[in-house]
Symmetry: D2
Subunit: 401 residues, 4 copies
């Protein structure tokens, strides 16, 4: 069956030529990101358990869950957690299948705790966090849809929903994501005072980019406010140093602008995340699956994290459309910008979206007709191999936030 | 101080001329909407209590919270709830101020229960829902920002964040919103079998619009599957009848397409919401503050519901930008589409955004220069009177989802 | 099969002749009693549902559960609840039987809320209490025992356990219970300022009885501390007036002795129970099934409330032994004191205890041999008709605390 | 001030000469004992923190709390936990004092988890248990009482309450406690298949003692039902071997009598406690502070575990009266049985009970007058040094269950 792929050229001021551009990223330890990460960790752990115990992936959906903030008393040299963070795992999972019991609740609790340990190793899990679980079992109709196609190669959509993706990243997008990655991968390992809860807000106004970072600092690694100020200054400098890798535009860096140093009002934390002291988090409220929040671009409201990677459109189509957009700009010359939207119809095979809508801004002088066949082919092949998304997710090769 | 308002003309294929358009609405009883509505009801109740007891609005933020699905056994003629819905109220609120104790937790629980009763009057609150509360108190720095300007006219931004709004609605947007409103206001009151949990998904493919509705039907008002089928058919017909009010395009209506009538698999519920049987909900995961999810338009990820309406940018700027966009298209001739983005800087007065970015597609033949002063003026005045947003929200004159 | 009934005469100083006697009662609104009452209300509601939906009583055990105190700000004329009481329902219940689903969780929540309303009508259930539920399903082996004898007349013991009862009440016991009943039935209806949470502690030292009452007073019915003092004084006087009905001994009454009137430290509450402001409660921690705590008498540690009345020894044997002791002293002349202990063996029919141990202090001049046959007969008949306990419990004819 | 000590001789059939005697012990891993142990561990951790951070012990009361059973699938060779145990910490604690914040919630969670680990080392705390916390702060009046005497040597009673203790243990009591201790200290270390959740029920009928043990067996250490049967048999034999150390009477041992071996119905668990599969537990529902439940003896209903050891009568007087009774029988010749009851009056110094009531059964030929002065002296000295109870509790030298 031929897939319904619609490619159109749109007249649109390319993002780089628009006056204002906004880009945001909530890094790994931001409360919303913690919620996303836990949701995804639980889903992956369930997938592994289902495969091991039942030989198939079973229905589940853990794309909900709440991080209720604790209370802390940070202090230079090392403060304390007063009231633990409360993490509530919800969603639903298959708990029995074909006579086999799958300990979904225990798996979920363990996966969540283990995930938190992995991203915030300095947290004392015995006293700084409570992981609770109120996971249910799915509603009958959804499970039926799932069972129906248990043995076949192509799953059926769990919902009428859609995914969107775009490529390539703008300079501001690359900068925001690049700075976040640099801190995570290069800078924090050597500078443990930099917490994992960082919000990076990028504003491009014409050719001036302002990067505003709110960085939760870790109290035990800072002797006093002097060291705090110094550490912030060094981070600012470092980011100024790497910014030119991503853009030739003028980049202004602000870090913890809400601080009032003379009054001792600073963004100091015990474990490096504001979840310990007032900021709640929820799945699906932070980054989209490309790692960014981009209000100047089309976005899906669907939480990608925690959804099952077998038949859940809100997850699979967001991941796939993003991947396809990237493949198009990588493999095809002549694309300035590309936006891909995949729309499912509940109960239909997921490799046959109701429509795959593609919007292209070709490079100057490029005719749409010249590149359309290549785009068509990439999308057709991507849908053909849609099962690979599932596998990559379970292996952890695809990030969801 | 002059406000930083940047108006630019963008070359962009107007939405109505794009090939594909997607629009979604989660109606009042959808789990995500229930979460939004509770969050907003709690915030409004707190505002009233603060004003009454302390004479000022105090810091709070209840834009989190989780609806954990229950379990039900719907049956034609009337089924039963097996496990109650579990609603967790979180967020934070000021609980003491100037020696006065504000019973924030009790207020929150009462507001939530009362809200649910108001939107789902058929629900038996004594057995169908558990409303729990784990609300904390805010982190110090945020409250300080708040206290600082307690007496002044203009609040300071709680965060570096932004809001976006657009106008006018496209035909598909008007249709989706219009159908939802029609059911809520006109059709359900006479047809109680139509539950409040409806998801309306609109897809425009060129000049063909497909409206897919997933409607939770209420079992007690349906004698058997025959009446179910009939009721669905009548609803479909009714919508087909009103669609021409919103568009001349061809509109195809699908209702509960996942049903498998011959096998008795239908979307039947006890109280008219899937929250009773498997679907969780979260604040901020559903409609944007214009009542829609519009992945082809710029959107903010911020939850508008539940945030305090005093200084919380994620709420105020989303509401204001939407309102300003509407005012522009109403009062100014010559605008095809307008997008407004307001960006705050933490700690700065909220009537002085870092930038107010405006993108306009003028009507054919209209010069930007001709309409720009009027746009500037509307935005400037809107920011000048930003306090009116707060008042409208507390009075319930502005919807947030 | 002959029942193993062992009657022995014990040489023991009768309670009335002992120097010191202690008797305590926690009235209906004491946190422990609220927990007991909820547990029992849930069990009875489940029994009714099982009978109605399945035709038989099914396994359940709700003799656990916790009342976590809230926070209140009582004030003369009417204060407020700041944080609701949190009531957690636990235990386990049969949720499916023979293809029928029993909505045990919803039943439990409704029964608990309805019970609280019945005993504390002034409580605003929409904001003063949260009723949560984490009820499980029973462990397999217990249910098997139960199923085995589903159709037979005599149940099998769920456990190796025992019950104890004594009769008659001593004067101090009668006084403590009588004062509590008088307040509940006669005095409070006309004096609503007297809360339901009263702890009555009776100490008899020779022929002097001191009755110490801690009475939670209801703020809305008291204009000021003067009225408080007056109301307390009137209550004291009233009790002094009725005490002679129960004893000729000298009775000294103390009410709210911990008050410090001059400093305004009084036992004032919003709803008449300390559960609203700091005192937690648990099932089985308060009164034994005769309504008293009697540390000078043999007692069972088993919670009577909430256990299923079908095969749960901890409930049935405590109720039965108390009833049998009362029957013996009522119907047989010559008994000064009687103590009955029934010991079960798990899996054996409940009408065949391992041993029914009876200790008697005959009246002066009475030979044990003269009354033993009558005692034997009463106990034998009581065991024969043990099923009537079940029925009485379900109808609410037997109090459990 | 002279203390009010009342010693009386009572005519009473000594326990060993009564026909029937019942004694029960819930061992360390029984759900009620787990609850007790957690409550006590939390209280001790708070005491240590208060002393360290504030220099004084502060008000708290954690003698509540609930163990909500999980769900498990035991299997010979090693099964799994399906749903974690849910432990709810409640009660109240001082959280700020003199400007110092004490992280009571975090301390409680950590103490609870650490305690569970210590008694059930085979439990995987990352997936087999959820420790939640809803601890409040105390009601004002109680704390005032406490504050008043913060600096003085002698605390004031928190309540009008009492404690009771007796000595010496009867043979049956010694046997029940001795068997339990033997298993804990000697047998289980070499026989890990014996779980920590053991209920020992002792019935003495004349000179025949029946000891019924319900022992949760640990699945991972048992290959099959054969090994299960064998292990039970060996345990039975072992207990038969040690019983003569405690009594010359005939002792009959029953272990897991509810098993139905041929149908595979056995008491098998994953972690050695029924809390994992259906049995809830509560503080104060199990053993009294002498380690036993003795319905033939006077008992207090007060939970000893978790109460603060500074001024909480329900704890201190139970521990002290038990200790004093033991001292009397150890140091004074001529006592067959002694029962001590200490009764407090709220607000009065705890070393001055309202009455210390002592009941003695002297040995044949011993006059009360001959031993009374020695008894008086022991009790007087014990009350004089009542503060040592506090110290011993905090050091962990006194068991509370």
């Amino acid at each position: 069956m031929i897939r319904n792929i619609r490619v159109e050229r749109i007249a649109q001021t390319p993002i780089e030529q628009q006056q204002i551009e906004l880009v945001e990223r909530k890094c790994i330890g931001h409360p919303d990101s913690i919620a996303d990460g836990i949701a995804e960790a639980v889903s992956r752990a369930l997938c592994r358990a289902y495969l091991e115990e039942c030989g198939v992936y079973l229905h589940h959906n853990t794309d909900q869950g709440e991080i209720v903030a604790g209370e802390s008393l940070p202090r230079f040299g090392g403060g304390k957690i007063v009231r633990p963070i409360y993490a509530l795992l919800t969603g639903r999972a298959t708990k029995t299948f074909d006579g086999i019991n799958i300990p979904a609740d225990s798996i979920a609790v363990e996966a969540a705790r283990s995930y938190v340990k992995s991203i915030i190793p300095i947290m004392n899990l015995e006293r700084d966090i409570i992981v609770d679980c109120r996971m249910g079992t799915g509603s009958t109709d959804l499970r039926d849809v799932f069972k129906t196609c248990g043995g076949s190669a192509v799953m059926r959509a769990n919902d009428t929903s859609f995914g969107v993706g775009h490529a390539p990243f703008s300079e501001t997008e690359s900068l925001v994501k690049g700075v976040s990655d640099y801190i995570d991968e290069v800078y924090r390992p050597k500078n443990p005072a930099i917490g994992t809860d960082i919000k990076v807000m990028g504003l491009r106004d014409g050719d001036d980019i302002t990067l505003t970072l709110a960085v939760a600092m870790v109290d035990r690694y800072l002797a006093d406010i002097g060291e705090y100020v110094e550490t912030i200054a060094r981070l600012k400098e470092t980011i100024e140093g790497i910014a030119p890798k991503f853009t030739d535009r003028k980049v202004h860096i602000d870090v913890n602008t809400a601080d009032d140093i003379s009054n001792g009002v600073v963004f100091l934390t015990v474990n490096g995340t504001s979840a310990e002291m007032g900021d709640d988090g929820s799945v699906g409220r932070g980054n989209r699956c490309n790692g960014l929040i981009t209000p100047c671009r089309p976005m899906s409201m669907e939480a990608t994290s925690g959804k099952n990677p077998i038949n859940h459109i809100g997850k699979i189509y967001n991941l796939l459309s993003t991947q396809l957009a990237n493949t198009c700009v990588t493999e095809i010359d002549g694309i300035d910008e590309i936006y891909i939207r995949l729309l499912s119809q509940i109960g239909h095979p997921i490799d046959q979206p109701l429509v795959a809508g593609v919007q292209v801004i070709p490079k100057a002088g490029v005719e749409l007709a010249a590149i359309q066949p290549a785009i068509d082919a990439i999308i057709d092949t991507g849908l053909e191999n849609i099962g690979s998304i599932t596998e990559k997710v379970i292996r952890g090769d695809l990030k969801t936030f």
